[in-house]
């Protein structure tokens, strides 16, 4: 007996919420980046679940696109974090408020 759609959606919501809370409460930039990945994957899970439920492949294709973008974003984000660390010897986002006027 297949897992009902609601379970998938519930899990995806939980993952997404964990990601959101991670972004809001954590100070380490790397953790924040990982939390963003959680949010993206939460969204991916709903896409795949609906794709199966509706017998429609385009949802899965979309997930591939999201994953590529996520990979690119992670690469750029990590590069930035590395540069910030080299300059300030810290990846604590509370110390990074120099961009304001």
């Amino acid at each position: 007996m297949p897992v009902p759609l609601g379970y998938y959606l519930g899990l995806a919501a939980i993952i997404f919420t964990v990601g959101v809370i991670g972004v809001l409460v954590r100070r380490n930039a790397i953790i924040i980046l990982m939390s963003i990945e959680l949010m993206l994957n939460g969204a991916n899970l709903t896409l795949v679940a609906f794709s199966v439920h509706l017998q429609e492949l385009s949802g899965q294709v979309f997930v591939f696109l999201v994953m590529t973008v996520a990979a690119a974003e992670a690469a750029v984000g990590l590069a930035i974090i590395v540069m910030i660390f080299r300059n300030r010897e810290s990846v604590n986002v509370d110390n990074l408020n120099i961009m304001k006027w």
Binding site: V23, L24, N97, K100, W101
Partner: protein, 639 residues
């Protein structure tokens, strides 16, 4: 030649452009050649035009030349076009002729001036503008010339701009003229509204049909135009700029402030004679303003000690005579006097310049005396000019001034009081001119020893124009010998076509006997003035002082020019200044600057407030982002 009349304008304009743009590179000789040559050529063309006009029958002497259309907008049309008729032909001849002589004189007078090229380019520009003014065949083009001569006047009065008094005098002339020009401009607009055209020919032809005799429209137009003439020709109450204009170089005073520009007002009134004849009230105003000015300015001239200021007040007075003539309808006599005045007043000013040249710029006649032996040519030419202006029989001023005084009495619009103003002015004229002559050239020398040594006759460049002008000042009147003395009054007959029906309006209604009597009276008046001056300043030289002491209050009043400048200052200038300060301190600083600065401050304040949201912390932005998403989603779900 009539077809080539635009050449009259072209040469001085070219001279101005060449000297004005490239003059700083040219040598003296080339500058002189361009400046004098251009005006000389202009004079030759004027002469050709004049002679060609003479060949035509009197009633055919009317030629219009359209150079190119200028403004065409709906029913409003003007062109760069010229009107050649006896009046304008005479004017271009006088203007270019006198201007040519004064250009030559200037090459000697301005010899050491660092602004030599600038001077001559301005002078050429002036000649061009003045010729444009008199040749224009419509009011708008005339207005351009009118304003351009005003500009040149301003530039040349303030020629020595590093001197504060000269710069101020230039500004004064310009501003006072603005009051008059404002009237002139309104007059032109009103003319266009009523006639639907600005061309002289249709306006003058249709004036009797379009306007009602003595109606409000005719009176309004002519009074507005006359306001312009009052400003430009320095009549009461706008004469105050002319005495101050003497700050400019003396040849400029001779050309602009005696011979040509200041006569533009008379020319304009004469040109529009048919309009003025439709408005008897305006004619009366013109005559009264002219007559009163003639007497008033002459009375100030009695007491002045500055050689150029005496001549300046004399000019105002003589311009008053011309307006008096126009006011009683004797336009021909006015223009006749304009011509002879151009000769003898230019001559007198140039002689004054020659004296200043010899005495290192000394102007006070009380410090001169006995110059006759040092400067014989200047003396003799000055004497000719003095005899002419004083109205001694046989000299040009006699014929023209006597004609005016006679017309003031005899014409239909004349009156005994107008005659009296003119005659009393004539007495004063003879007196102050001979006072000037005696104090400057006769008697014992009151020069300082250094000046005594320095005093010399001026170079030929300056004396030759003096001699030519002296000859003209003597014989210039013989073109207008009155019928009574066996002459044909040729000049007025020549000018008649320009004034149309005018001559009938001033038909003389007195017999020859009265005219002869009046002539004898005016000769006696002139001789009386000369005799008085002779007693005061040659025979009993202590007399003027005694009289001045006895009539102290009158003397101070006149010596201080009736305190008119002070009154204008107190009544007009200071209140306006006060008003300007209020506008500046309150309206400008508080209201305008305040609102502009207040607006900027308000924007800054709001910016400062909003800035607090931008903390720079990533989490705050992320929170704002999430909250925003929740709100939008919530909105869509609960809708």
């Amino acid at each position: 030649m009539l077809d080539k009349v635009w050449l009259v304008l072209l040469f001085p304009l070219l001279g101005f452009l060449l000297n004005g743009l490239f003059g700083w590179k040219f040598k003296r000789g080339l500058i002189n050649l361009i400046a004098c040559g251009s005006v000389g050529l202009s004079f030759l063309v004027s002469l050709g035009v004049f002679l060609d006009l003479l060949k035509l029958a009197p009633e055919a002497r009317h030629f219009e030349k359209v150079l190119f259309p200028w403004v065409v907008s709906g029913s409003f049309k003007t062109a760069f076009s010229f009107l050649v008729d006896p009046l304008s032909a005479l004017m271009i001849l006088v203007v270019s002729g006198v201007a040519f002589l004064i250009h030559i004189y200037s090459t000697g007078y301005m010899h050491d001036d660092p602004g030599y090229v600038r001077y001559f380019s301005y002078l050429n520009l002036f000649t061009f503008s003045m010729l444009l003014l008199v040749l224009a065949d419509n009011l708008l083009l005339m207005y351009i010339g009118w304003e351009a001569v005003g500009l040149c006047s301003y530039l040349l009065i303030g020629f020595w701009y590093e001197k504060k008094s000269a710069a101020d005098a230039g500004k004064k002339a310009f501003i006072v003229n603005r009051i008059g020009d404002f009237g002139f401009a309104l007059g032109i607009m009103l003319t266009f509204v009523i006639f639907g055209t600005v061309y002289f020919t249709p306006i003058l032809e249709r004036a009797p049909e379009v306007l009602q005799y003595g109606g409000a429209a005719a009176t309004a137009i002519t009074l507005l135009l006359f306001l312009g003439a009052v400003g430009k020709s320095a009549q009461i109450p706008l004469y105050v700029w002319l005495p101050d204009a003497m700050e400019g170089p003396t040849p400029v005073s001779a050309l602009i402030h005696a011979a040509t520009m200041v006569t533009a007002g008379i020319y304009m009134v004469a040109r529009l004679s048919a309009l003025f004849l439709m408005a008897p009230v305006s004619m009366l105003v013109v005559a009264i303003v002219g007559g009163v000015t003639a007497l008033y300015a002459a009375s100030i001239g009695l007491m002045q000690n500055d050689i150029k200021r005496v001549l300046a007040y004399s000019t105002i007075s003589q311009l008053g005579y011309m307006f008096l003539a126009c006011g009683v309808g004797a336009f021909g006599a006015g223009i006749f006097h304009l011509m002879t005045h151009a000769f003898f007043k230019a001559l007198l000013f140039l002689c004054a310049g020659s004296v200043m040249h010899a005495l290192a710029g000394e102007l006070n006649i009380q410090k001169m005396g006995g110059l006759k032996k040092h400067m014989p040519v200047t003396y003799w030419t000055f004497l000719m000019g003095t005899l002419a202006i004083a109205g001694i029989p046989g000299f040009s001023g006699f014929f023209s001034k006597d004609e005016i005084i006679w017309k003031a009495f005899s014409s239909a619009q004349g009156h005994f009081l107008l005659w009296f103003l003119g005659a009393a002015g004539a007495l004063m004229t003879a007196f102050y001119m001979f006072r000037l002559l005696f104090l400057t050239f006769h008697g014992k020398s009151r020069l300082t020893p250094e000046l005594e040594k320095r005093a010399h006759e001026s170079p030929n460049k300056m004396t030759v124009p003096l001699i030519i002008l002296a000859v003209l000042a003597v014989i210039g009147g013989y073109v207008g010998i009155p019928h009574l003395l066996g002459g044909g009054n040729r000049i007025e007959k020549f000018l008649e076509p320009s004034f149309g029906q005018v001559s009938k309006a001033v038909e003389t209604h007195h017999s020859g006997g009265v005219e002869l009597l009046m002539m004898i009276i005016s000769v006696l008046i002139a001789l009386g003035g000369v005799y008085l001056a002779y007693t005061f300043y040659i025979k009993k030289t202590e007399l003027p002082k005694k009289l001045a002491e006895r009539y102290r209050s009158i003397y101070t009043l006149i010596y201080n020019k009736y305190y008119v400048d002070e009154i204008y200052n107190a009544v007009i200038v200071q209140p306006l200044k006060f008003f300007a300060i209020i506008c500046w301190r309150f309206f400008d600083v508080i209201v305008i600057d305040g609102s502009a600065n207040g607006l900027a401050k308000l924007v800054g304040l709001i910016g400062n407030l909003i800035r607090r949201f931008e903390t720079g912390y990533v989490r705050n932005y992320a929170l704002g982002f999430v909250v925003g998403v929740v709100i939008i989603l919530g909105y869509f779900m609960l809708r």
